[in-house]
Subunit: 458 residues, 2 copies
């Protein structure tokens, strides 16, 4: 078989498993998650042995400089904390409310004719991610909970571990009413390339990983892709910014976890703060070892400030042209001065990645204008950009953060894995036909009376 026909078989099996699952009672999904915990415990020794082998192979690659040291940490599943967290993740997902079967619109079109819009799974997912092997279990749990079938592709460094995790998933599914093909795993890039062509059978691609991974997938498929590109987030210190808030929000947004996509990469300072608030915010950032790439005005302000910070020479530099479109992902912050709120909004819309941006202000009008004018998934007032996160937002879990403009935006919970369908029922004699409705004499008019209902009654 060629790679394409194999991919077609895998994709077709995923779709068939999804379609068959629609007649399985949704309670079976939580049963599957409980059985998954059981099968993982049964295979624990084998899984950890396989993980050791993956780690040893990776150490060789790291030693020869082919892989980075940080990968080893992500690959390692052997600590009790990591194992426990993986299992707890499955329990957390199981405990969430069912995202499907919820009625979001219901109307009576006519006596005896009811319409319900009800949430349902999307279909079959293709999820592509990188090193961490426990993501296989995490994503499988999310797919099962939301009623979607899935094909999973992890990083090649974790193949041995992932193969056994997939075996546990298969064993769990075999004890349920779901097809064993409900969750499948593939291991090669060639398989993924061919799967990206299967738009007849795969409904959504979710890449989780580097910007490069996400962009390359977007370029190579006609299947809808849900993912985020850069996280270039800004903190804007408005004319009326409170000093304590400015310091706390700027510092937390930058240093709380610099490698995260919701960390600030840019600080915008209103020009009226150049000699007052700005030097103090800069000092607080320098205290935390942040490197500042400054525009001429913010740089001058620091150099002319009376309280010269000891790190001024080592940690403060002029910003280069690309500083404001770079996702530093480290303790580096680009800084620019602007002369108005309106300029700041325009600057952010032109330079940010439309992820999350925050204003520090005491003005209600400025807060309102910023939140409406900044065209990002998250617009915050006096709060750190780091709050942009599914757990913090209260979703219980997070599929990822979307900077797209359709379907789901910002942190995406289980809701991002469902869509809806319209169910309609006639209980009238003779059923309902469109030909009876219209503007003519004796013809019926639509009622469009709201129905209060949480679930479809048939």
């Amino acid at each position: 078989m060629t790679s394409t026909s194999t991919a077609r078989d895998i994709a077709r099996a995923a779709k068939a498993a999804f379609e068959a699952s629609q007649l399985v009672d949704p309670s079976e999904r939580n049963t599957a998650l409980e059985l998954l915990l059981d099968e993982l415990e049964k295979l624990k020794t084998d899984i950890l042995t396989a993980n050791k082998q993956d780690l040893e192979a990776a150490r060789v690659e790291v030693a020869s400089g082919k892989l980075s040291e940080s990968l080893l940490k992500r690959l390692d599943l052997s600590t009790e904390a990591k194992w426990t967290a993986m299992l707890q993740g499955v329990r957390d997902v199981a405990a969430l409310p069912d995202p499907t079967g919820r009625v979001t619109y219901a109307t009576r079109l006519d006596d005896g004719l009811e319409l319900y819009r009800v949430t349902c799974p999307i279909g079959s997912l293709l999820v592509i991610f990188e090193a961490r092997p426990e993501v296989v279990v995490n994503i499988a749990a999310l797919a099962i909970k939301s009623g979607n079938s899935a094909i999973l592709k992890g990083g090649k460094e974790s193949t041995r571990t992932a193969t056994l995790l997939a075996q546990a998933i298969r064993a769990a599914l075999a004890r349920t009413k779901f097809d064993a093909d409900y969750i499948q795993t593939v291991h090669t890039r060639a398989e993924v390339s061919s799967l990206l062509e299967q738009d007849r059978y795969i409904d959504l691609v979710i890449p989780r990983g580097s910007n490069e991974l996400v962009r390359s997938i977007q370029r190579s498929t006609q299947i809808p892709v849900m993912g985020h590109a850069d996280g270039i987030c800004a903190v804007y210190l408005d004319e009326s910014a409170d000093l304590a808030k400015a310091v706390r929000v700027a510092v937390d947004s930058k240093i709380n976890y610099p490698a995260a996509c919701n960390s600030a990469e840019t600080l915008i300072v209103h020009e009226s703060l150049l000699t007052s608030v700005w030097p103090k915010v800069a000092a607080a950032l320098l205290d935390k070892d942040v490197k500042l790439l400054c525009c001429p005005r913010t740089l001058d302000a620091l150099r002319q400030s009376q309280d010269t910070h000891p790190k001024l020479v080592t940690h403060v530099q002029p910003a280069t042209d690309d500083a404001f479109t770079t996702e530093h992902l480290s303790l580096t912050l680009s800084v620019t001065a602007l002369s108005s709120l309106s300029d700041a909004v325009k600057w952010i819309n032109g330079h940010s990645s439309h992820h999350t941006d925050t204003i520090v202000t005491e003005s209600a009008a400025a807060a309102s204008a910023f939140c409406r004018g900044v065209d990002s998934a998250g617009t915050f007032v006096n709060a750190s950009t780091r709050f942009a996160d599914g757990f913090r937002y209260g979703f219980g879990t997070e599929v990822g953060i979307s900077t797209g403009r359709v379907h789901a935006r910002g942190p995406v919970g289980l809701e991002g894995l469902v869509i809806y369908k319209y169910m309609m029922r006639s209980t009238a004699n003779g059923g309902h036909i469109v030909g009876e409705f219209g503007g003519g004499a004796g013809q019926k008019q639509f009622l469009h009376e709201k129905i209060e209902s949480q679930a479809v009654p048939f």
Copy 2:
């Protein structure tokens, strides 16, 4: 300027107009629609003269066989009924509730820290459609109402009319706080090709027209596309079908408006009905001049029936291989017999275009299984497939019908033109930082208390 740089300018202007519009009060959108009505009335004579010229040019093309006769009817805007309907369409859209600014999730994360998910426009739209010139006005109204900027491309046959309609739109916008570039029109295919590359500035492409148009656009852009492909809808006559309902639903689904995407193309007959219900349903369809393409069993049943219909010879033929994957869009219906509900669900999932399918049944269990098992945007019980329509569903207007699985599915009203953003506000001393939350001693826990609110209070 090359075509690409022109397209980039157009797309960039659309995006800039959208961004600027975010600080304009939403009430200005209805003002713009009222002014649009005014400008259309002012230009009425010129518009109808231009429409006559378009029609004359088209008649030459029709006479030489380059265009079809039916295009003339779609192109013609000169009847008073059509003109009035165009203006009424604008008024109807203006009368709909604002789809933006609605809070769909609100939670208190901590004392003084509130999160709001609020509906907002998507951004800049590229809408591509075919002959009917009034669609320019229709789509402009939808874009303005939903707060999106738009670039519109109509059919080349209506260029003269569309240019004047666009002039009216521009004149109306010039009297508002919106940029004149808020709604732009382009006229050539080359411009569209270049615009489809502007994924940095254009957020959503909406093709309205033939399947061919939709597919060709999907293949040639990385911008998300919202549209529908085929409408291959099925009526399934279940074992327990009531005869009167079977006849009424099958006939209405087929003949009410055969050229529409929500018309039935396939009839599935449970085998137990072959000698009872089926011949009577067939007779009713033949009475309405429907041509039946039958599988061997449904064909035999008619040929062996005691009541031979006079049109049996002329209107009933064996189904060819492609009959069940063809969108007839005419008075032709493919018919097959199957032996169970489960087979019917599988058949529909394998052959339909996931648009709208209906079951005729007296069994509550069969209705429930059909509605859940059939993976289509609409699953109906004892109701005609023709009910799948935004107006009939109560949306007031319809952007189109989506057979996609993300963002919007089924008939799409104004809700399909909005997404949401997350606004967060801290009112605490010092603002809110993530570093204060966590599992450690003295650290804060998230509250996640539901806030009852219809609108963002800041």
